[in-house]
Amino acid sequence: MTALPLADVNVEALGIFAIVLAMTLVITYWASKRVQTADGFWAAGRSITGFQNGLAISGDYLSAASFLGIAGLIYLYGFDGFLYSVGFLVAFLTVMFLLAERMRNAGKYTIADVLSFRLNQRPARTAAALGTLAVVAFYLIAQMVGAGVLIQALVGIDFSLAVLITGTFMLMYVIFGGMLATTWVQIIKAVLLMIGILVMSAFVLNRVGWNPIELFNRAEANTTAESTFSLGPGTYLDSPIDTMSLGLALVLGTAGLPHILMRFFTVPDAKAARSSVVYAIFIIGAFYILTTFIGFGARALLGEAGVTAAGSGGNLAAPNLAQFLGGGEGTFGGDLFLAIIAAVAFATILAVVAGLVLSASGAVAHDIWSNVIRNGQENEREEVWAARIAAVSIGAIAIVVAIVGGEGLNVSFMVGLAFAVAASANFPALLLALTWRRFNTTGAVTGVLVGVFSSIFLVIISPGVWPGPDSEGGLFGFYELANPGIISIPLGFIACVAGTLLSSSPAQERSFHELYVRSETGIGAERAVAH
């Protein structure tokens, strides 16, 4: 049932896919009439409530890598998969305490708005846009490849066609519906995902008498000598320093993800931004607890015999478990449950990629086009059109790269790289711009550049990439880190500080006093449009 041939298309799955897609298209049509202005296109008119935004953040954040990837890792390796969940969740405290409200108060549509508030417009914006585009590039291509692989395996549509369909719908939401459509796609996806995982968890817990400890026991009992599964750490992440490096990138990376930070501009004020993080924390926390039940359930019920069928990285463990819980392969219940979970996974991917493309279009159209090339002459209609053109271009590039790079691209490695770049380039510059009085343009530019390039460079020379996936010891024998965070994040901060201290402070756009007062109090923050 994995990697079905083209003829073997799953009809139930296709039907449910069609229903999900039809719903999203109705939303896009509704939203398309409301996104003529830049505020509407990028910030949904700042009309999203805290609760809605909490759902949308969850929808934006919980990618297929979170759902299928972590369930699969827990199934294959046990505890180490859960370690990812912990990092992904704790990261929201970083976002909440350090950035969410300050960004809402000081920014408009993009990360670059916050940086260029007190720094020189053109260099600061260009650097911030580069940071955004680097994160989005890796994350987006990873998600597109993941989409293609999953849809091919679950529904039986060819990889290239699956990527093309995903990319086309993603672009329709963004181009016609802007942030408003993207937000509602994310909300629907979050609701579908939570219902799907709740129902599956209930099925799993029902099998073990609703006793999670019994689930742990059965999972551990259902291993063989070849199993990598363990209730303790070290089976998947076997290098301590690499584990630290990954942990650091996870907990700081979220605070540099442009598509997540952009969501804070869609709510009316900082209070709503704050409450939306708390809603997101509870939704995402519940999700990751339930993912454990799915992963352990797969281990307890499918056992070692299901490893081959779960595919590389165990991505298909969750759908296979759904099929088993529904009655097994070939039964109506089994096929239906599989189809539902497949559709949920598809909706998950669509919501994430739409958010990513939207944030990249902000970097290109709002930052580079309007403010750097056109030097800040406000022309909202032009900016929205530039955003649409940018979205199409970025989307087309992502589709082509995903299809050409194909199934061989390692998805989790690219997601890890995206988090590393976000934590090393975007997070230090943003945090220092908001809190450090002396910070200046040179510091921001060097910080972002060093953050982006050091993390990419360290990944290229890491053992997993160079000279080849199975090589021992990497390009240079002494460098064995797979995750660059523990080096590149400090480098990003050091470059920000060094760039600042070593340069004479250039004339600034506006004073730190203004940014400081406005970001802490919300005085003068962008307001919701009247509706």
Partner: protein, 143 residues
Amino acid sequence: MATAAPKGGRAGAPEPAPDWEAIERSPEFQELVAAKRRFIVPATVFFLAWYLIFVALCGYAPDFMARSVYEGLTVGYVWALSQFVMVGVLGYAYLHRARTVFDPLADKVAEHAQRTFGSTDPGGRFTKDPATAPATTTPEVRR
């Protein structure tokens, strides 16, 4: 940047910008940032420490983390679950502190600034909308 100019050409000639430095020096603002710092700095140090110690032990003491607490439940899992509790508690505590302490202080800063500098509004809360202003203090926003 767009917000530098007074928004929407409201009411004729551009008014002078507020004196941000004076607001920053005001005791109201200093009280706000001190109150925020008193919560955020210790909370951030605590959650990063609790998380990074957990990650470090996963890396360097896997046998300890794999020790059973109760049947299949290991030390590592209990610690990992404690992170979930920590996130929930700290998240809620911050929300509560913000609503009861930070927001009223921020409102005081805004009111003080408005008294001192008039309705110079670069596009936001300076001219506080009476319809939305009470929402900051009424318990109605508590969900």
